[in-house]
């Protein structure tokens, strides 16, 4: 007897015998009905009597419908059997596909825009391409594709080319390109958020020696994030009685939208950035400061003592931690000399040792201070006072439910990504890999697959995303190991410890840049020391993780091994 597992409770698997019998029965029923109607039609034909519509429907139409219904059921059973097995294996591929899909659409869009730019450039009287669009007409596009302009015959081009021209025509306008990229960013944020939800629960499971989500969507419950989102969407949106309606409804979006717009200035690579603004960093800091207001209004408008406590604590914590975070951000800006993220990223393309975190001991310390302050700025790990379950039952989003709560949740993960992205951008060599970009010079210019290889090996969006996810892992890892800090200790840490430290670092960096010649002995020595320290930290992290994984059976202990399922 096949072993009955919990899986069968959720998705009763048809045993092969049961499925075969069902198919036989329905096939038989379908055939009988069909033969019956055939015989009836022939008899009517023979007797030649005209039939009233009622008899016609009852005699002929209904049975045939039944017959085809039975045959359709047969088809459904077989399809379900095949599809079910297929989907389960493909499941994770679909998920990775969605991630890849987002990156591919971005890449496709950039190819498309590149093509249109070439067409515009190829025009006989090229006028400057502006946001309002040059006067590129469709027939010019056709002529570009059909043949050399002198060949008159080329004018009657095949209709397909006409259609392509119509398709390509709108993309010469900058606004449309921004719309597409904005959608890509929104897609990327939602995929990141749902991935981060699943990853956090998986990492939490691993740390707490349990499995984490295993069931939703097949392999290791990869669709848990999406399932949570769907569940929350169809939950009822409760608004407390005496709550301040409009403010209550507006608050979650005041938290999510600023973080989403922060992606405007976050460069994934030198060409992959929505707007490489002169003041990118300041804008991102400003936008991160706005979701304090959303959180406070949420706590305040939900008319509940506990959430008001949460709101008060959050206000105190986030406002005070913006200062050390902002000032720690200043150090790399001083070193790079510009606020443009693109420029800062380009500066660090010389390989592992040129990353800004290793340029001077002050920058190295500033990286640490920035990371801790960013933890507090997005209410994570030891600083997650606002939703301190044990004291305040839920903090500022106690009264929220359904989709609004999901918006808070997505806002938190998006903020985590932005904050980690900034750390990577400023300290850990933005979109560059540890290998110096100069080695891959030859690849950069080559054909498309060489440029792809260059993007994968030396500098490309994949590196930015990978490093940001690594920092995201540290956020998650800290949350599930460290206990929570009390509110007065949070304040003490910020004002008495972090603030003076960042000020000293600023002073130190200033003197470092003034007094130490950039390519002198001390600068190079400091660079080497910091690089070795950074490498040591990464090696220690990877080493312990590897050692832990290799003898995970011995570490856990004999009883746990044969007691826990699938460990």
């Amino acid at each position: 007897m096949t072993e009955f597992t919990a899986q069968d409770v959720i998705r009763p698997r048809w045993s092969p015998a049961l499925r075969a019998r069902a198919i036989r029965r329905f096939m038989l029923a379908g055939l009988i009905i069909m033969i019956g109607t055939g015989v009836a039609a022939v008899c009517l034909e023979i007797f030649g009597r005209s039939l009233s519509p009622l008899w016609l429907t009852v005699g002929i139409v209904l049975p045939s419908v039944l017959a085809f219904g039975a045959l359709f059921v047969v088809f459904a059973i077989t399809a379900h059997a095949l599809l079910g097995r297929l989907l389960k294996r493909l499941a994770f591929v679909l998920f990775i596909g969605s991630l890849a899909g987002i990156v591919l659409t971005a890449w496709g869009a950039s190819l498309l825009f590149g093509l249109v730019d070439r067409i515009v450039a190829a025009r006989p009287d090229p006028i400057a391409q502006t946001i309002f669009g040059g006067e590129l007409t469709t027939d010019e596009i056709v002529r570009f594709f059909a043949a050399t302009p002198e060949d008159p015959k080329a004018l009657e081009a095949p209709p397909a080319l006409e259609f392509v021209a119509y398709l390509l025509w709108p993309w010469q306008f900058r606004l449309l390109r921004d719309l597409v990229l904005a959608l890509v960013i929104l897609g990327f944020v939602s995929v990141t958020a749902s991935f981060a939800i699943w990853w956090e629960r998986k990492v939490a499971g691993r740390i707490q020696s349990r499995l984490g989500p295993m069931r939703v969507g097949g392999w290791h419950g990869w669709a848990q994030g999406i399932a949570d989102g769907l569940k929350l969407v169809q939950k009822e949106d409760i608004v407390p009685g005496r709550a301040d309606g409009p403010v209550f409804r507006l608050a979650p979006y005041l938290v999510f939208i600023p973080v989403l717009t922060a992606f405007l200035a976050l460069p994934f690579s030198d060409r992959w950035v929505l707007r490489d603004l002169e003041v990118g960093l300041v804008l991102v800091l400003g936008l991160l400061g706005i979701d304090v207001i959303g959180v406070i209004l949420a706590g305040w408008a939900s008319h509940n003592k506990w959430s008001m406590y949460g709101a008060l604590r959050v206000a105190a914590q986030m406002v005070s931690y913006e200062i050390p975070m902002g000032m720690a951000l200043l150090l790399p800006v001083m070193a790079a000399g510009t606020l443009r993220p693109g420029a800062i990223g380009a500066l660090q393309s010389g390989g592992f040792h040129t990353w800004l975190a290793f340029c001077s001991p002050f920058l190295f310390a500033a990286a640490g201070v920035y990371f801790v302050a960013s933890l507090a700025a997005c209410k994570r790990a030891p600083f997650d006072l606002p939703e301190a379950e044990s004291e305040l039952t839920g903090g500022f989003h106690t009264e929220y439910s359904g989709f609004r709560w999901a918006v808070f949740f997505f806002g938190e993960y998006a903020a985590m990504f932005v904050v980690c992205g900034l750390a990577v951008l400023l300290f850990l060599g933005a979109w560059h890999s540890p290998l110096p970009a100069s080695w891959g010079e030859s690849l950069a210019g080559g054909s498309w697959w060489q440029r792809g290889l260059y993007a994968l090996l030396f500098s490309g969006p994949a590196w930015f995303i990978a490093k940001t996810y690594a920092l995201l892992f540290v956020h998650i890892w800290l949350r599930w190991t460290l206990p929570r800090i009390r509110i007065d200790q949070v304040m003490y840490a910020c004002v008495q410890v972090m603030l003076p430290m960042t000020m000293l670092l600023l002073l130190g960096q200033m003197f470092w840049q003034l007094l130490v010649p950039p390519d002198g002995i001390t600068a190079r020595a400091a660079n080497i020391v910091c690089t070795l320290a950074g490498a040591a930290i990464v090696a220690a992290f990877v080493g312990t993780a590897g050692w832990g994984y290799l003898n995970r059976r011995r570490l856990v202990g004999p009883l746990a091994v044969n007691h826990l399922p699938g460990s």
Binding site: I131, R242, L277, G286, W300, V319
Partner: protein, 204 residues
């Protein structure tokens, strides 16, 4: 309605939309001459943001629920930040977001939360205060009208200056405008010490 007609209609709509695209921020390829369609769009954005700022400001003054006032104030400050962007003053817009929307407003909301007993606290101004407010409002309006009247609109629009670079600002702050810069920092220092003393004395 054959396929291609419908397609051309879609393309036409897209074109109209594209022509009406905003000068959100110039692409790296440098500013192009704003032909008449551009100005029409920029005007649309200007009216949109200006209107939003005006409505929020009025809302902030007229509304009696304290928390609503704070929200309207946030709307007004955000709209002003948008206006700065339209004027290509990107740095100023970012600073506006940080200092006003992120800083001052939070302190104001803090003040509201700590002083009013419940979320539905209302603020009903006394007639004397209303009169004073109206007087100051009218005074400012008069100043604005005279200023607008004195400008000679006939010259037309000067070409939008290229976005003032940040280091230009920095250099100006520390060279030509050094004295006001230092004075304001001393003022801020005094304010901070005062605040610390006030809070400290309370908790003795």
């Amino acid at each position: 309605m054959t396929g291609s007609n419908r397609l051309s209609i879609v393309a036409a709509v897209l074109v109209w939309l594209a022509r009406a695209g905003p000068v959100w921020a110039r692409g790296p390829r440098g500013p192009g001459p704003a032909d008449w369609i551009g100005i029409e769009l920029e005007a649309v954005m200007f009216y949109l943001l200006g209107g939003l700022a005006a409505v929020c400001a009025v809302g902030c003054v007229l509304s009696s629920r304290v928390v609503r006032m704070a929200l309207f104030l946030f709307g007004a400050l955000g709209a002003v930040a948008g206006l700065y962007l339209l004027l290509h003053a990107n740095f100023l817009a970012a600073i506006q977001l940080i200092v006003y929307a992120g800083g001052t407003l939070v302190v104001i909301i803090f003040g509201i939360m700590l002083s009013s007993a419940s979320a539905a606290a209302r603020y009903r101004a006394r007639p004397a205060e209303k009169a004073a407010g109206a007087a100051v409002g009218l005074l400012l309006l008069a100043g604005l009208v005279t200023a607008v009247g004195r400008i000679d609109w006939s010259e037309g629009i000067a070409a939008a200056p290229s976005a003032p670079t940040v280091d230009g600002l920095g250099r100006a702050l520390l060279t030509t405008y050094l004295v006001p810069f230092e004075l304001s920092s001393v003022l801020l220092l005094a304010v901070m010490i005062g605040a610390a003393w006030l809070a400290g004395s309370g908790r003795k």
